[in-house]
Amino acid sequence: MTRLLLIVCMAALLSACSGEWGWYVVNPTTAKGMTNLKFLLSGLGYTILLSLTAIIISIVIGLLVALPGLSSNRLLKGFNRVYVELVRAVPILVMILWVYYGLPQLMGITITVFWAGVIALALSDSAFEAEIFRAGIQSIDKGQYEASHTVALGYTDTMRFIILPQAIKRILPALGNQLVYMLKMSSLVSVIGMQELTRKANELVVTEYRPLEIYTVLLLEYLVLILIVSAGVRWLERRLQTDQR
């Protein structure tokens, strides 16, 4: 709450500090300003949808890549290392361009801007998710696997009922950070025409010639969004801490 207030104050200060500002472009009391503001905010849905879809997929891929990394089999381990190192080395913007323009040609498919964005972000992030999962799972005591063995659970059941539920609690904060990161990175998908927050701002700048105000609004949009997410993550963390288990 205090943070939100701070932002409002900052915005007020910004508007007051110089004659260069032209807040009329997004002044909600005028019809024109209101239309512009609505236009800017209309990207919010896609930013959120894109980030959420991408993070869910990247978590799934991350887990699928992390598990072989924990095996004692050298081939499986090698797969994990190669995947993580390769994917981590690709800049996200390059990944987006490659998935959107390259992948359809390679595989003879058509791909929408949205799914290109989702796939690119999910792939990029999956390498980090994989490392987070690997560290989280490795932090679980060996005795848990041994106890699981004594009650006749196989690998899948051991992971599903014993290891992952405990690991998830430990890595939730890290996953929260990745979601924040994802929200920020989703702005890059604007380059292929995704109608999310950043794209909307770019388009408005072209027609209104007020980059300072419009990008300031854009910046605030991300700030608010991310502060809300961080607050949610901290709330979850606190809940898990007070948990008896």
């Binding site: 848990q144 106890a147 004594t150 006749a152 059941d157 009922f161 539920p165 405990q166 008896q244």
Partner: protein, 255 residues
């Protein structure tokens, strides 16, 4: 009538280890260990730290894979992975020094997970069985609690009940009271004595010599990865053959 196993019919040992060796890299933790355990026999294993006691019983349920020799359980020689796993899962329970309860599950969930997932028991059957064993370890009132809410002694009794819910023929104990405060040791030992009296086959690594005298049929003394002394309990405490064993007993028995 319950299925009679090969072992019972032929009066063979339920566990037979023959010349079993185990290496950790260069280090040899077990050096040609052989031991037979009959159905219903109670074996207590003792010996100095690092002598290979844990490794011995961990090889029996393949938490450690042995490198040489053969281990036969209930007539099945442990070898190819899948089949060995089934033999162990069907026959062998284990209780650890550190309890190793599942901290994110309630006591009752700790007990029912194995039977429901790997035995295909229904939830209500598994719960009934679990309550029965919680009665036996004398903590039925703790069923809904989480491990962190219990004392060490209670946790270890839950761990014993959890293993018993799998209805094993053999129970392995690796220093089950070593992590406990002194005042809690007896509540765990009492449960183990009862279990021994009920006819369970047990191999127990422990330095609780009072307990050993009371329940053990056979005493095993290990040193440097070898079984130095293996004899019936009376002889072991009165006149062990080896000097190393005599010294060890002098150190740990009250004079």
């Amino acid at each position: 009538m319950p299925n009679q196993t090969d072992v019972q019919l032929h009066n063979e040992p339920i566990i037979r280890m023959q010349s079993v060796s185990k290496f950790f890299g260069e280090f040899q933790a077990l050096n040609g260990v052989s031991i037979d355990v009959k159905l219903g026999e109670r074996v207590v294993v003792c010996g100095p730290s690092g002598s290979g006691k844990s490794t011995l019983i961990r090889c029996i349920n393949q938490l450690e894979k042995h490198d040489e020799g053969t281990i036969t359980i209930d007539g099945h020689t442990l070898g190819r992975k899948k089949q060995s796993l089934k033999v162990i899962h069907d026959n062998v329970g284990m209780v650890f020094q550190q309890f190793n309860l599942f901290p994110h599950l309630s006591v009752i969930e700790n007990l029912t997970l194995g039977p429901t997932r790997s035995r295909g028991a229904s939830k209500s059957d598994a719960t009934k069985l679990a309550m029965q064993y919680l009665e036996r370890v004398r903590i039925p009132e703790q069923a809904e609690k989480y491990p962190a809410q219990l004392s060490g002694g209670q946790q270890q009794r839950v761990a014993i009940a959890r293993s018993l819910c799998m209805e094993p023929k053999i129970m392995l104990f690796d220093e089950p009271t070593s992590a406990l405060d002194p005042e809690m040791i007896n509540e765990v030992l009492d449960v183990m004595v009862e279990l021994a009296e009920s006819g369970m086959t047990m191999i127990c690594v422990t330095h609780e010599m009072g307990f050993a005298r009371r329940v053990a049929d056979t005493m095993v003394f290990m040193d440097h990865g070898e079984i130095v002394e293996m004899t019936n309990t009376n002889k072991f405490f009165e006149a062990p053959d080896s000097e190393r064993c005599q010294e060890f007993l002098q150190q740990i028995l009250p004079h």
